[in-house]
Subunit: 324 residues, 2 copies
Amino acid sequence: MYSISQLQDLVNKHIAEKEYPNNPSELYEPIRYIMSLGGKRLRPALLLMACNLFDGSVLKALDPALAIEVFHNFTLMHDDIMDKAPLRRGKPTVHAKWNESIAILSGDVMLVKAYELIMSVNDSVLRDVLRVFNETATGVCEGQQIDMNFEALDGVTIAEYLEMIRLKTAVLLAGSLEIGALIGNAPKDQAQLLYQFGENLGLAFQLQDDILDVYGDPHKFGKQVGGDILSNKKTFLLIKALELAENLEEEELNYWLNAEDFDADTKVRAVTDIYNQLGVRQLAEEQMNDFAEKALSALACVEASSEKKDQLKTFAEELLVREN
Amino acid sequence: MYSISQLQDLVNKHIAEKEYPNNPSELYEPIRYIMSLGGKRLRPALLLMACNLFDGSVLKALDPALAIEVFHNFTLMHDDIMDKAPLRRGKPTVHAKWNESIAILSGDVMLVKAYELIMSVNDSVLRDVLRVFNETATGVCEGQQIDMNFEALDGVTIAEYLEMIRLKTAVLLAGSLEIGALIGNAPKDQAQLLYQFGENLGLAFQLQDDILDVYGDPHKFGKQVGGDILSNKKTFLLIKALELAENLEEEELNYWLNAEDFDADTKVRAVTDIYNQLGVRQLAEEQMNDFAEKALSALACVEASSEKKDQLKTFAEELLVREN
């Protein structure tokens, strides 16, 4: 049985060693660049762990694991254009370093490469793996579009928000796990349990992200604490606060949402105070724990060795107490 | 045996009847829109004809044919962003009608849909079809990048130009034909002959396009005659003219290439005159005929009924005497 850190080493090594064509360099250099920026490599690690649950040999899952990471980075490359983001993990984004056309086209070719890599699976699971991958990719695109729509939309509900993060974040974790299980020759119902585990884990993970953006330790979080508040991003916390706020708190919250000229720290402090008064952090944590429990229930139903299931459980739990 | 017009009717009907999800509408409405703008539907027709060469039943090739057309329109949607094109077939482009983010994301989901559609092939050819599709898609992206690079590049050679149009235009015709043959259960060597037929046909087709842009009948061409001249686009004609021009003609050609303030008709007439003096139209036609002959030689080697091969030959010949 591989340990988590062995699996992560395998993933990191495989990502680092992957070669892309040299020409045209404008197309492939941005791929090497974004793939070298690092990250948690969460999705490929989950894919390998899911494979490892059923089948001792995970080497055949390495290319599909890389496929998922390439796909994830393709979405980041295109999302960064749409968000006009100058930085990604502290480094210039591809469209900022090169230009938009190059970021569009490199991203396109990354999506093709992801399909190429995922096709390395055995014939016996090829169609199923591709079906999950297609559904996952479609979901991620839909989630990104819904997220963009939210920016201009008043009155987003918690249910709509959860559906958006399910598509934008959770289905890729879920799909990675289901694909890993399929590659490990898991029966379909077992692979679907892994999907459920991943979907709920992804929802919990995103809620944790919302909470950390406001309440994270600035020294560990890696991003500006309060970034979501400053950009009026419709997170679980803000949507819940808008739902609960009345009278003075409602007035104050709307004041900050509409303020055009403000001191950043003052706005972050003021909105955080409102969140505290309304208790939305606790509500977010309850919702998060609810998803985490659902995830672990699905995992508990999986027919695999407890030792291997415990490994995945530990990984999930560590993920949800992260500080960055 | 199906007639060409029967096959084209099948394609058009299938494209028109294809349903896409409704939500989020910003993601799927642009797909319905661009797919409804029409076009020659050349690639799906070629795919069906190639299938029809080997196997009487083409219905199973309809979804893959649609996949190729969806893929082609995905590339148009993204290319139009990069080219900042306001119009496509006389109608606003997707990024002009909606916005750039929507055009990026709708295009992304079209690429996923193309994979979904092409996966409808039988298990026995799934991996081969996907391999050809991946290679084709990669080639098209590389061709677009090289084409963009050419804009800022002096001294592009005819060989480099031909390699660019091979990637940007010819491989998709070639891939469509090879995929059609594979779906028709053609042996691999036969499918590769179809690829060669398509590759050379595509090269001839693009050279014809270069010629028509300057020498086409303005009433039939559908685009502004001389558009390539006005934008200094590096076509076969311009590259050859730059290669051949000496003395006064060289000076005059460079004058027009560098002119910033000019009357459009005067520039088109002047550059066309230089092309005429240098005889580059004839050289382009010779090159085009050379590719057309290579295409037909490959087709001649295909082991299929002469009647069916003649159909494909007629289609190719009509394509190369088109006026639009």
